[in-house]
Symmetry: C2
Subunit: 462 residues, 2 copies
């Protein structure tokens, strides 16, 4: 493997830009909306498109049926003594509603100002395709890839990847790899590419309180019968104090502190807190004291009520003492917090807070631990070099406050580091009308991906 070989690859990619864009547009024209059964045929069409595409590249390709939408799997030949990379992506997209807010129709890809507008442009067809096109570029040189690349492209990411976990657990050998490559996130800012090396976990609950067996007149009963909405307010307020500190016993016991290196990396980022507030139209931020905004969002746990309801929500006034109240709430978790231990402690605390006359049901919903890949990982460092090659700038290392459950699943099931290499921009409108992907980022992503195969192969050869 020589450096001039990568040059050849990159040159091919550059010369193929128009064709690569045309291929992406073709895939974007298929409305593969996973949430809506009426698009079932289009889901299948998108999967078939990929199978055909991988087949043309000469990859060993399979269409794998699940109880839901099919998984597309493809792999290049094994390369002895070289690592194995598994590319994960998804061909399904979010529903395009509300349609009337789209400037050009969601499934008619349209270029404006260097951006390609379409549902799925960035999430995830465009980003996913960069890795397909980088492999195509390598193979076009007439040589083998310097390492084995496996593709796992699913069709249920936007509806919870219900059948993927099962597939992973049943196919650990087939999917065995040294690192997983996922391009389904964003750069830190325009012109600032990033590698996301940590994600917060989540523990999501629904709490339902039942008081009297019917809605009561608040005049006749108020002050004597426990009001479940009053109780819910008290209970939820007790879970976190004024300084943003979560009050569940033992909650912070296993929280891994941010390293000095991480704190330094975060401080060095071009994060404009005033602009952040202006964008959200808020006059002030809050959160756990002693931490910066980025530290709070990425490296510290949090508590949010995601939804609450009870009693009368209509116009005017109704003097009701409601019979029921409920809320959805969640903790964001960081390494090494254990969602199960937290749930147990939470349940005990809630039971203790319950006033007389109120019954509680606590429904445990989604749970995933936080995850951090070590900054020293050779794969992370290889990816950083590849991004520098593709984007002309060394990436920053960031964490992400959200959870990408599949990432922890990969880490757990395959024992591999996951490289989150986001080519998108924060304003790409994913899940919103006018989703877009910068064509420049598309091509830079292809170049970075092409370089990634080179750098990852070098990891083993060094």
């Amino acid at each position: 493997m020589t450096f001039s070989c990568l040059d050849q690859v990159l040159e091919f990619a550059e010369q193929s830009q128009d064709r690569f864009e045309a291929d992406l547009a073709e895939l974007l024209r298929i409305p593969s909306v996973s949430a809506d059964p009426k698009f079932r045929n289009d889901i299948r069409k998108a999967a078939d498109w990929l199978v055909e595409h991988f087949g043309k590249l000469g990859l060993k390709t399979e269409l794998i049926q699940t109880a839901g939408h099919p998984i597309v799997y493809a792999e290049s030949p094994p390369v002895p003594d070289a690592p194995v990379a598994l590319v994960y992506g998804h061909y399904d997209v979010q529903p395009p509603d509300p349609l009337d807010l789209w400037i050009s129709p969601p499934f008619e890809p349209t270029v404006r100002d260097g951006n390609l507008y379409a549902r799925g442009a960035t999430d995830d067809k465009g980003q996913m395709l960069t890795h397909v096109k980088s492999v195509e570029s390598w193979l076009a040189t007439g040589k083998q890839l310097p390492l084995q690349v496996k593709f796992l492209i699913e069709g249920e990411e936007e509806v919870g990847s219900e059948h993927l976990e099962n597939f992973l657990s049943g196919n650990a050998d087939k999917l065995a790899c040294d690192c997983v490559v996922v391009s389904d996130t964003s750069q830190f800012a325009r012109g600032v590419p990033a590698i996301t090396y940590g994600l917060r976990g989540i523990a999501y609950y629904e709490i339902r309180l039942t008081g009297p067996n019917r809605d009561l007149h608040s005049g006749v009963f108020g002050g004597a019968v426990t009001n479940p909405v009053n109780a819910l307010n008290r209970i939820l307020a007790a879970l976190i104090d004024e300084t943003g500190r979560i009050q569940v016993p033992g909650f912070y016991d296993d929280v891994a502190p941010l390293s000095e290196q991480e704190q330094a990396e975060f401080r060095a980022l071009p994060f404009d807190e005033a602009a952040f507030q202006r964008d959200l139209d808020v006059e002030g931020l809050t959160g756990e004291s002693g931490f910066t905004t980025l530290e709070r969002r990425w490296g510290r746990p949090s508590f949010d009520v995601n939804g609450i309801w009870g009693g009368y929500q209509g116009e005017g006034e109704k003097t009701v003492l409601p019979g029921k109240a409920a809320a959805k709430f969640s903790f964001r978790l960081v390494p090494d917090q254990d969602p199960d231990a937290i749930t147990a402690s939470l349940r005990e605390m809630l039971q203790r807070l319950l006033p007389p006359g109120i019954r509680m049901e606590l429904i445990e919903s989604h749970r995933a631990p936080g995850i951090v890949f070590p900054l020293e990982s050779v794969y992370l460092q290889a990816a950083a070099e590849a991004i520098e090659q593709g984007f002309g700038r060394r990436p920053v290392f960031i964490r992400e406050g959200g959870s990408i459950p599949i990432v922890s699943t990969f880490a757990r099931r395959l024992g591999a580091d996951v490289l989150l290499l986001g080519w998108g921009q924060n304003d790409d409108n994913l899940h919103s009308p006018n989703e877009k992907f910068s064509l420049a980022d598309f091509h830079r992503g292809i170049a970075a991906s092409a370089a990634l195969w080179d750098r990852l192969a070098a990891v083993c050869h060094e």
Copy 2:
């Protein structure tokens, strides 16, 4: 005025029971639903029915147009040196929905087990009519009534009596009276007639909190951006402590304590707390410590959240940090709390509790002070004697936790004591399907009302 005269009146009433029931049924057949414009003609029909009915009795009668539904006014001739009683009632009814839960149709009055089932049977056509029929019985003796009786029967009680206050303030002379008689409440229990001598007031609000200008991802922003639902929980929880004590500064400053006589009256009532809990299906009650359940419901202020909403309320989970949250809440007030002073103190407290990044809008809604008529009132005592005559048992003196805004309006505008003489039962299903009124209570109410004119007249003559 002799006692034997009342005997004649009561005898006439007893002999006229069938006809009185037929008249009530006729009025109940008119679906005078005030909330729904499609019943506008029926509203008018019910008003006309009353006008005709009063006319037949020889009363001076008027149909008074308002910007809403008409008011029916009628009066007997003035009686020198005797007090004047004003009967207030309403001819409009609640909507009958849900229709499928009615055993017999709501506007086809049907007798089962001695109860007359129909929308409006107890609220308020049946109860109101007892006073019309008692006057009819008096006049049937061929003599004058021993005092002047004025009737004020409105058609908008179930929709907030919007145009009544105006009418009262513009007609204080016409309506001048010594006491107002209202039968629109219930007996304390089966066989335990009651006079309600006090009502709680109310101060009702809607609070709207706005955080970020859009719903945010709770993973990406949670822990740094103030969550308006979290803020709302904290704020509402801060308004009342665990022991049921309201925390608004100065809230209790003007609370008139319950007198020893009142406490003794309440303790003597046949109130079964275990049955009360069983009926509501709750295992335990709460409330301000140091007070009994009846004291809490009738004589102490309370705080209830009447409705709350924010964020995601659908199935499953949505990891949203909502941009908005809101709640409706109200205080029940007792004499001599001032709703305006409380609102001012509340507003200041809420402002102080508001965390950074949250804007608040507090909408002041309905407000009415609590009211208590002195137990020593000669009119109350006269009514007690009349009820003993009609029901064969001396009434208990109770208060009511709810607010009947019109009562304070009468007290304020006319400077008169208001006698709340409820002939209904607690399980008469007012505002619910299968509303009913015991025919025995209907006739006992007529007898009590007939005796009331006698006893009230005696007040002045004693």
